[in-house]
Structure formats: C-alpha cells, structure tokens
C-alpha cells in the first residue's frame, strides 16, 4: 500500500507569535519551526500501516526551500521519500489542494492521510477540498483506522459523539489527536532521513497554477481580554448575563 502524507512547516505552537510591525505577517525571527503536530499523527498512522502490511509512505511539503528540513524531520519518523514543491507564494487551502491533487496524480497512492488541520492557520479545509477535487471518499478527524480489502473503516470524532464510516480506497483520511501516539525521531532515523530521496519540483513542473482565491490583507493581535469577574451565585450570574452582557 502506498500512502501519501502532506507535511506542513509551522512555527512552534508553544511559543507566542509576534506580528511584524506593519501587520503583513508573522515575525519569524528567532522562531523555531516544526512539523505541524497533527501531521505527525498522520505520518505515524501511515508508517504503522506500512510496517504492518508493507508498502511505502511518501511525504509532500509545499513552500520555501526551508520546508526541506521539515520534510526530513518527517522522513525521520519513518517515511520513505518525499516531494518538495517549492514556491515562495502563500497558498490558501484551495490552492494547496490543487498542488496536492497534482502530486496525487503523479504518485497514485492508495490512501492520503493528512493532519486534521494545520496549527498555524487552523483552516481545516485542504484535505476536504483535495477529496472533492479528486472525487475521492473522505473521512475526517479519525481516531481509529482499520483497513480492509479495498476499503477502510474509520472511527471519527464529531461534535457531540462518534461516527463510523466505511469508505472505499483510494480515499482521504484526516488524523485527530487520539489516532495514535507519534514516535520520537530516533537518531539513526535522523541520519537516514538525511540520505532519503527528496524530489524537488516547482508548481510549473507539476503543471498547476495554484492561484489563491483569498489574500491576507493584514494581521492584527486580538484585543487584550478584559479582566473576568467572580460571581457569588447562579442568580447573580444569570442576572449579569441577562442585564449586563445581554446574551440571554
């Protein structure tokens, strides 16, 4: 089984992001970049499947040349090889889905597993759009994946409960946090990752335009939160919600 897993380079989610003074983007000076944490769950699931029943895990990362490091960090988690689609443009979810669809066509994998969302923009869209563009079945927010003959049974976390989907392969699955426990990159794997094949291509090489339909006009910090209040009783709380906040 061949599994394609996209990996995204994101600023370390544990640090407080600062904006550039003109609000044109995030100030990346001194920021440490990592593999998007949800993508680590996707890689782990793919690697476990391949360890069990054979095949290969292929990664794809889209962005500047720096993404090669992110890709290698992903390869150190057990994937076999990777694609680096180099572009300096900021792509929105639909454009990313276009690029992924192009790589999908080159690779013809049996399965695409992605992180459920990227922790920088938290859009939670690219995988769904990819499935739509390729007309593939999708099962998002997986916490359990079981592969059968030409199909997958996916248990999913949805608002207010659980849901089980059976989908035919090829398909797109997105990984949620409870899917598995991603491994650490062992040092010998880091050394091996350095030697693994990374195919570098441009958008032109793939024949995709990848035009973003949305554009970021500016970023600003959320307003500082006003201090909270401690109420003495439920009655007081209800009174404040009705009369002060006017939300009830």
């Amino acid at each position: 089984m061949k599994i394609l897993v996209p990996v995204r380079r994101v600023p370390n989610p544990d640090i407080k992001v600062r904006l550039k003074s003109d609000g044109s983007g995030v100030d990346t000076e001194g920021v440490n970049f990592l593999v998007n944490p949800f993508d680590e769950y996707a890689i782990e699931e793919a690697v476990q499947i391949v360890e069990k029943s054979g095949g290969e895990v292929v990664l794809v990362s889209i962005g500047t040349a720096d993404c090669e490091e992110t890709l290698r960090a992903g390869l150190a988690l057990g994937a076999l090889r990777g694609w680096l689609v180099e572009t300096s443009e900021v792509l929105d979810s639909a454009a990313i889905a276009d690029v992924l669809a192009a790589v999908y066509k080159e690779e013809s994998p049996d399965l695409v597993i992605t992180g459920k969302q990227s922790v920088d923009t938290d859009n939670n869209q690219a995988a769904q759009m990819l499935a739509a563009k390729l007309d593939l079945p999708q099962a998002c927010f997986a916490f359990k994946v079981e592969l059968g003959d030409g199909k997958a049974t996916v248990e999913r976390e949805i608002d207010g409960g659980l849901d089980v989907k059976e989908i035919t392969l090829p398909a797109v699955i997105t990984a949620d946090l409870r899917l598995n426990q991603p491994r650490y990159a062992a040092l010998p794997q880091i050394m091996k990752a350095k030697r693994k094949e990374v195919k570098k291509v441009s958008l032109g090489d793939l024949g995709v335009e990848a035009k973003s339909a949305t554009k970021i006009l500016g970023l600003s910090q959320p307003p500082a939160r006003a201090a909270g209040q401690i109420v003495g009783s439920v009655e007081e709380l209800v009174d404040k919600l009705v009369n002060d906040a006017k939300v009830l």
């Binding site: 490091e69 960090a73 150190a76 650490y184 062992a186 040092l187 010998p188 880091i190 050394m191 990752a193």
Partner: protein, 380 residues
C-alpha cells in the same frame, strides 16, 4: 564562522527537547524526591540513540557528532540534571575511552550493549585519597596467569549502582607513579566486584553515586584498556571529553532555570505589575541569558574542536568552568525571581539550584579547571 546548527543538529535538538518535555519532565521531581532513577528511561533513550550518540553505526551508535551529544545532554538537563548526568557519565566516561583506546575485539564486545542502552557504563577513577590528585591511586591490579586481579575501592562513582561495565583505573607499577597506572574494562558481574554504599546527595539525587569495591576481583587479561601504564593518560583524555558533557549539563540546568524564571516573571503580579516590568528583574534575566549564551558558545566550540580532531582540552576546561559558574548564578537568580515560591518544591527551581552545585565539582573542580587552563598559558 558558523554559529548556527546544522539541520541534523536542529532535528536532534527538537527530538531531545520533545522527549525531555514529555517523558522526563513529568517524573523529574519524583525521581529527585525518591532518589531513584527510572531505569525505563535508559531503555527509551537507548531506543532513540541517546546512549550512543557520537559513535559509529557499526558499533550500534547513532554516528553523529559530539555537538549533537552535547545538545542532547543540554536538553535533558534543562528538565532533569540527573538524567543529563546518567547519559553524560555513561557516554563520556565509559563509552568514550573504550571507543578511543579499545581494541577492535573490545569495541565489538562492549560497545553494542552500551550504545543501545541495554547496559549502563561508569568510570571508576576517584578514591578516598585520590580526588583532585587523581594520580594518587591505591587500587592495584596485578597479573595472575591469564587474569588481572584488582584490589581496592572507588568512591563517588556516577552510575556505579546500575552499571554493567566499569572502566577502572588502578596501579600496575607503583614505583612509576602516574606512569604506573593502567585502565581496565571491568564487567560488573566479575567475581570479586561489589557495589558498596550509595551516597545521599544535595542534588542530582536520582543519579546513582556509589562506592565500587574490588576484593580479588578477577577479569580476563585482555580487558586491559590501552597499554600497560597508559591509565593516567586515558583518564585525562577521557575527562577532556567528559567536561564537554558536564558543561552541557550545566548549560542545560541554567537554561531550564532561566526558562522557568522568564515564564514566572510574566505571570506573577506585584504592585499591580508583572515582575517582568521591574527593571531589577529584567536585569537579572538579561545577565543570565547573556552568560548562558556565552556558556553555550564555549561548550559548542569545544565540541566542534573535538569533532574537527583538534586539541580541545583547554577549551573544554574553559567551557566547564564558565558553564558551571553560569549555572550557579542562573539557578540562584531564578529562585530570587520566584521569591518564596522558588524556595519551596512547588516549582522546579529549588531542584535546579541543588543540582547546579555538582557541576563545579565533578570531572575536576573549578579550581582544577583553572589549573588546566593556566597550565596551557604558562607551560612552554
């Protein structure tokens, strides 16, 4: 000059930092309290390659450089100095001399189980009468047929309790002084070997510091490490490298203390402002951050020189001296930033403060580092 990390070194740092945060930090305080090391950590670290960072893959090592090793000790120590020294004493003090001075047979036999973390290693140099004056050894080894027979005792040996292999320095020809010392590879299941008392300590409480007792301890003749009479040279060379590990440990503890102090200074409000808004606190943080950065540069430079095959003994002594002093200052100031909350065990900074002191003592006290450094200036 390149002050940055290579992509491999960055990946190593990220993986070590993640492991430290997720697997070590949650149990560090409990290990300190119980003065017991969680041995499953050694197994996990072995699987990740942390117990054999800078040794070739053919012996089961990760095939990385000494700087990667320093980075791992630093990251582990930033949450738990005991874990840092377990790795450092094992690698620098036991694996290093076997790798550098061992015969091919010795390396093939002892390195794989050590580098995989299946077995811990230690170095037995210090004795009651031989501390800073390490050449003043009383432990003896004499050849009896096909075996060396060792008698004597070693004290304060890190990893001494759990170790499977000890590199031991002993007198083989008394009249030759420091040139009459030899080094031996002693499996701890050898007849006549016994672990004596475990020390109760101020800091690095989870790491074992034990007495090693040799009562007609017999090891095969081929377990001589290096040549007969090379023991002191082997010990000094080993400590040159080891000091990079301890500098990295000190650096890590200091960074851990600073991280805690910075976070707390932004949260704690007094006089209507976070502590970080007071200049007195800002200056402490700024001074510590600067010293830590300087210590890091010294430590990484020494590692880089070792990797480049240059002589680095003076530079590793400088790194250890400065990093240990920085560690003392950063942990002391971290408690000051926390005030009373830093003095109690609700926060890790009191543990960091207790752990810091040993970095000025083992693998050569700060005074001994200054002797090493000044000798390079004044000897011709």
């Amino acid at each position: 000059m390149d002050f940055g990390l290579t992509d491999i070194q960055r990946m190593v740092r990220d993986t070590a930092r993640k492991f430290a945060a997720e697997e070590v930090a949650p149990i560090a305080a409990a290990m300190d309290k119980s003065a017991k090391f969680e041995m499953s950590l050694v197994k996990k670290m072995g699987e990740l390659g942390f117990m054999g960072v800078a040794y070739p893959e053919e012996y089961g090592g990760a095939g990385m450089d000494y700087k990667c090793y320093a980075i791992i000790v630093e990251e582990l120590s930033s949450v738990c100095a005991s874990t840092g020294v377990v790795v450092s004493a094992h690698s620098s003090l036991c694996c290093d001399p076997i790798y550098k001075f061992g015969t091919e047979e010795q390396k093939k036999k002892y390195l794989p189980p050590l580098l995989s973390g299946e077995m811990l290693g230690c170095l037995g140099l210090t004795e009651p009468g031989a501390g800073s004056d390490a050449a003043n050894q009383k432990t003896t080894a004499r050849l009896d047929g096909d075996e060396w027979v060792i008698n004597g005792s070693k004290i304060f040996i890190t990893n001494g309790g759990p170790a499977g292999v000890a590199v031991v320095i002993a007198v083989t020809e008394k009249e030759k002084g420091s040139r009459g010392l030899s080094a031996f590879i002693v499996p701890t299941d050898s007849p006549g070997f016994r672990v004596g008392k475990e020390e109760h300590k101020l800091g690095i409480r989870a790491s074992s510091t034990a007495e090693l007792l040799f009562e007609d301890c017999r090891i095969p003749k081929e377990n001589l490490l290096g040549k007969d009479g090379d023991g002191f040279k082997i010990a000094l060379t080993t400590l040159d490298g080891g000091r990079i590990g301890i500098a990295a440990q000190a650096l890590g503890i200091a960074q851990g203390a600073l991280n805690a102090a910075v976070a707390y200074s932004k949260e704690r409000v007094q006089f209507g402002k976070p502590l970080a808004a007071f200049q007195a606190i800002q200056w402490k943080l700024a001074e510590c951050a600067t010293d830590i950065d300087a210590a890091r540069l010294l430590t990484y430079r020494a590692a880089w020189m070792k990797d480049a095959g240059m002589r680095f003994g003076t530079q590793s002594a400088m790194a250890k001296l400065f990093a240990a002093e920085t560690c003392m200052k950063a942990t002391r100031e971290a408690i000051q930033v926390f005030g009373g909350y830093g003095y109690v065990d609700e926060y890790p900074v009191e543990r960091f403060y207790r752990d810091a002191k040993i970095t000025e003592i083992y693998e050569g006290t700060s005074e001994v580092q200054k002797i090493v450094i000044s000798r390079s200036l004044t000897s011709d």
